[in-house]
């Protein structure tokens, strides 16, 4: 599928959706209120443009595309982690006592992922730094974000949050993380490398599109209750970044 028209359509649809959502946020002046969404979408759009440029200049199997793809994946996984942190902060706007634990938990989690990835790398020091440590770190942080996102969803249910928009944003991230994981589990049960590559690649891209559409629906059609009720109009992303 990678070289087919369908693959090209998927890539173009992703870029257009991201750009449209960013333009919508800018025109509505939602940069501050939806800081995490805007930040993540900005990173995603920049990444997609860089990847597309290198892909069509050098080809899918070129080392340039390989390095650009997995380097920008590092940027994306960090921005996804920051988005999860932001959503935790937003969920705990009226739960300051819980936030005291969460703001310790999130940096500790990141430090532990770095430490575990480093230990694995030291045991394989003869391998290339990029192709082992960076990719290994990305994968570990992905699955950690999946667990954190699930915890966040459970937290929203526990505190009976009325912020429907936040619930949908968390569900969007859940599609991004859990969809490929479920596909890998399916692929693991059904051997066949060519089929696995094709299915995994397609599902990952569809999951990114699905997450974008859920976010677009959440931003455009669901009322932003939490910020109005709590009366917080501060850029929460800056606060979260300060803690980390």
């Amino acid at each position: 599928m990678d070289n087919s028209i369908a693959g090209l359509v998927l890539q173009c649809a992703g870029i257009i959706s991201e750009a449209a959502l960013i333009v919508y946020l800018a025109r509505r002046g939602l940069w501050k209120r939806q800081g995490a969404v805007a930040f993540y979408l900005g990173c995603l759009l920049l990444t997609e443009l860089a990847r597309a440029g290198v892909l069509y200049a050098n080809g899918l199997n070129s080392p340039q595309y390989f390095y650009v793809y997995w380097s920008t994946d590092f940027l994306l996984v960090i921005s996804a982690f920051l988005a999860v942190c932001f959503f935790f902060r937003r969920a705990c706007l009226r739960e300051e006592r819980m936030w005291r634990y969460v703001r310790l938990l999130l940096p500790l989690t990141l430090i532990l992922v770095v430490a575990i990835s480093s230990i694995l790398f030291l045991h394989n020091y003869h391998k290339l730094f990029f192709s082992y440590f960076v990719v290994e770190f990305n994968q570990n942080l992905y699955f950690t974000c999946l667990v954190l996102n699930t915890l966040l969803y459970l937290l929203l249910q526990y505190i009976e949050s009325t912020d429907d928009q936040l619930g949908l944003l968390v569900c969007g991230l859940g599609i991004q993380f859990a969809g490929p994981a479920a596909t890998f589990a399916l692929v693991h049960l059904t051997p066949g490398e060519a089929f696995a590559r094709s299915l995994s690649s397609t599902v990952m891209r569809l999951c990114t599109l699905g997450a974008l559409f859920v976010w677009a629906y959440a931003v455009m059609h669901v009322q932003d209750k939490a910020i109005r009720v709590a009366g917080h109009d501060v850029p929460v992303l800056a606060e979260v970044a300060g803690h980390i």
Partner: protein, 110 residues
């Protein structure tokens, strides 16, 4: 201090759950170079890590001997070809005999 320890344990639990989930989902292919078992974000095609190239075959120690033999004896190197087999010793060389010719067909009785 107690809160810090509890939070650290919770963070450790979160990370280990993530790693266990990764191991459970992708099985033994959970290495950085492990084929189609890598998650990524984005709608572009995924460049899967290529497996390392296979090691070069070991040098053939008999290659020179075989080549020399081929040069000296030509392509007639089978054990049953006469007069082209090397031997050590001073006795007469019993060249391998060619297989006996097939018996003539029995005369037809008219």
């Amino acid at each position: 201090m107690k809160n810090l320890v509890l939070t650290f344990l919770l963070a450790l639990l979160v990370v280990l759950t993530g790693l266990s989930l990764r191991r459970a989902v992708v099985g033994n292919a959970a290495t950085a170079t492990g084929g189609p078992a890598l998650m990524a974000i984005g709608t572009g095609p995924v460049p899967w890590p290529q497996p390392p190239p296979p090691p070069p075959p070991p040098p053939k120690s008999k290659l020179a001997t075989l080549s020399l033999r081929h040069v000296v004896a030509g392509k007639v190197t089978t054990a049953t070809d006469s007069k082209i087999l090397m031997a050590i010793g001073t006795g007469p060389v019993p060249w391998p005999q060619p297989p006996p010719p097939p018996p003539p067909p029995p005369p037809s009785k008219k």
